[in-house]
Amino acid sequence: MEGNNPVIAEIGHFALVLALAVAAFQCIVPLVGAHRNHREMIASAVPAALVQLVFIYVAFAALMHAYVTSDFSVANVFENSHSAKPLLYKISGVWGNHEGSMLLWVFILAIFGAAVAMFGNNLPPRLRARVLGVQGSIGFAFLLFIVTTSNPFARLNPPPIEGNGLNPLLQDPALAFHPPFLYAGYVGLSVAFSFAIAALLDGKVDAAWARWVRPWTLAAWMFLTIGISMGSWWAYYELGWGGWWFWDPVENASFMPWLVATALLHSAIVVEKRNALKIWTVLLSILAFSLSLLGTFLVRSGVLTSVHAFAVDPQRGIFILAILIFFIGGGLALFAWRAPTLKSGGFFAPISREGGLVLNNLFLCAACAAVLIGTLYPLALETLTGDKISVGPPYFNLTFGPIMLPLLLLVPVGALLSWKRADLVAALQRLWVAAAMVLGIGLLVFIFNQRGPWLAPLGIMLGAWLVLGSIVDLAKRISLFRSPLATSFSRLRGLPRSMLGMTLAHAGVGITIMGIVCISLWKVEHILAMKPGEKAEVGQYTVEFLSETPVTQSNYTGTGGHFRITSGSVEVATVISEKRNFKPTGNTTEVGLLQTLFGDVYVVMGDKTATGARVVRMYYNPFVTLIWLGALVMFLGGALSLTDRRYRVGAPRRNTAAVGVPAE
């Protein structure tokens, strides 16, 4: 092909091998140096992490170049790309396959490693050397995996004229960016893991350590939140089932690290503020990354059947399993050996902020365990007995829901308890305004939903409780409506950012809960055969099938079904549902979607029936957008908390707390 420079792929391959060598150095030298307290060896960690990033960046850029220029002499490009693809999907094709996605994984790992190296100037040098050494060992394991079993730069001679194309389901904007976010989350937890291992080697965990771990965990958690919700959003409008979460093992694989990372975020606060829960926090740091590795194993080894299983190759599965056993087993063994040397302090009464956070951790970990069992049980049973089963949504609804319910009820209460010893009655008294408002909302829902499901008012009340419980307390702190608006505003600005972030994140959970309750209980589904000109009702909308027209694009051809949506006599929109035949292979159905804040009209055109009509499936999904809106609010809450003064890198220590604001 013209414009190709075949040398670039070779440079990429070479850079990858060099990165492997650097990773070996970064793993061994700083760890040995830290053990012997050898200054030069300790200092070598920082340049090693930076050089590592440079080499992996070169490799990644080389693969990207091969995709963008459609260099089919690279086997990976030939198998997963096509010259007629739009540029966006040529780029996202880089990680739309096993080899490229593993390269993305180590690329993000190297970015995090380099970030620790660059921004870690106020870390004790030995601790930083150990953290980077552990990061290096993770990088070494995965680079070895790539170089020996999953080389993205394998060549074909002679180069084919045209590629096989990317799975058309993956040719989608949300999915193009879903893997990078998700990996940033998975891999971000490696930093917490490395800090935990370094602390075990150091034998010291203190408030400064927690102040370091928390922002990295927070960043990883934010990426996971966005990555998971993008995946769910994609499943909603691309798979055409009208659902947004399927408890698919692959979804669970990303959800479990999120649950534990959420627990870790909360327990790290206790270490930082009260110097307690240290051993538990170290354990959670190890577990969170272990679940990330488990997720990578489940998705990449091909033991699961799903759209994510690119590779069904036992050799790769065994390699990742070996990595898994080494890091999880090694981490836990080190924990068992060294944890007793960590001194714990900071005693607290059961009813206190600490107590509330312990309860939070307990429920989150129990929920995560329930998901883990449901995900792995079919694998275990098949291995042991040969029976094949599927554990579906009924299992998860029955276990996950009841475990999370008390946690969600307690969130606004826990946030009001004071450290060390708290007055539960006083905290509840502060919540009475929110409680009254929630009851009012419940009553309204009950009145308007007399024929609907009885769970509806309760579910909405739960969501409203989280939102209002967080916001009402904030309003009180800034004496909103009781003092001039300007005073309230300046008080708001004086509050610690982490507190505002917490309020926002908790409210985000409430918003997501309300979306889930609405779509679960009030979804309207309608399947029928329609001919052009016919109408059907769904929710308060009327959907009219207007016509079918042929569609031609560079990478597919197909048929578009046009549907006019009216509400009463008002025309709201015309949506198009397409059946697409992709070049060179694959079919998809695109959903015709009308989105409003109050609800979505979701139209899917199906096959022709015997009489030439089309099977049409339509849904009315009330308030479904709240699910992803809530996730966005959680993300923003995390971002706000990340900018808190006490985490700011190199910020001068100021002790001038704003006047009139009670300490958090």
Partner: protein
């Protein structure tokens, strides 16, 4: 104490749910061999028999799932997945009727040309009917 109570309740829920909500995967031969009772929820896997797909008006479809030894009719209301083809792998989940047909509420088809549901591939391999399209 409280911690133990929470863990105990969680463990109880998990065990109860595992007993009551899991769905077994069978091929048509196993449905008759294992004497599965009508009313049982199951996943049926196999190949869609050539020429067996019939669509009535409305959105009802019927097709036959075969494992080359036995065959079973599946009734389904709704839209078949884009990758549903006669002669290729399929998994249908639903309830076994008294007439011996499966009333399916979910039909899953393989995700791309190279790929067939692992469950089906394993069964076909075990029966020596695998037609060797391993990627």
């Amino acid at each position: 104490m409280g911690a133990l109570a929470v863990l105990g309740i969680a463990a109880g829920l998990v065990l109860y749910a595992l007993r009551d909500t899991i769905v077994f995967f069978y091929t048509p031969s196993e449905v008759s061999q294992k004497n599965v009772q009508p009313g049982t929820r199951l996943r049926l896997g196999g190949l869609v028999e050539q020429g067996s797909l019939t669509k009535t008006d409305g959105a009802k479809v019927h097709f036959v799932v075969t494992d080359m030894t036995k065959a079973m009719t599946v009734n389904y209301v709704g839209q078949l997945p884009d990758l549903f083809r006669e002669g290729q792998g399929v998994v249908a989940e639903g309830v076994l009727g008294t007439d011996g047909n499966l009333l399916a509420d979910t039909v899953l088809a393989k995700h791309d040309e190279k790929y067939m549901p692992k469950d089906v591939a394993d069964r076909l391999k075990a029966q020596g009917k695998w037609k060797g399209t391993t990627p």
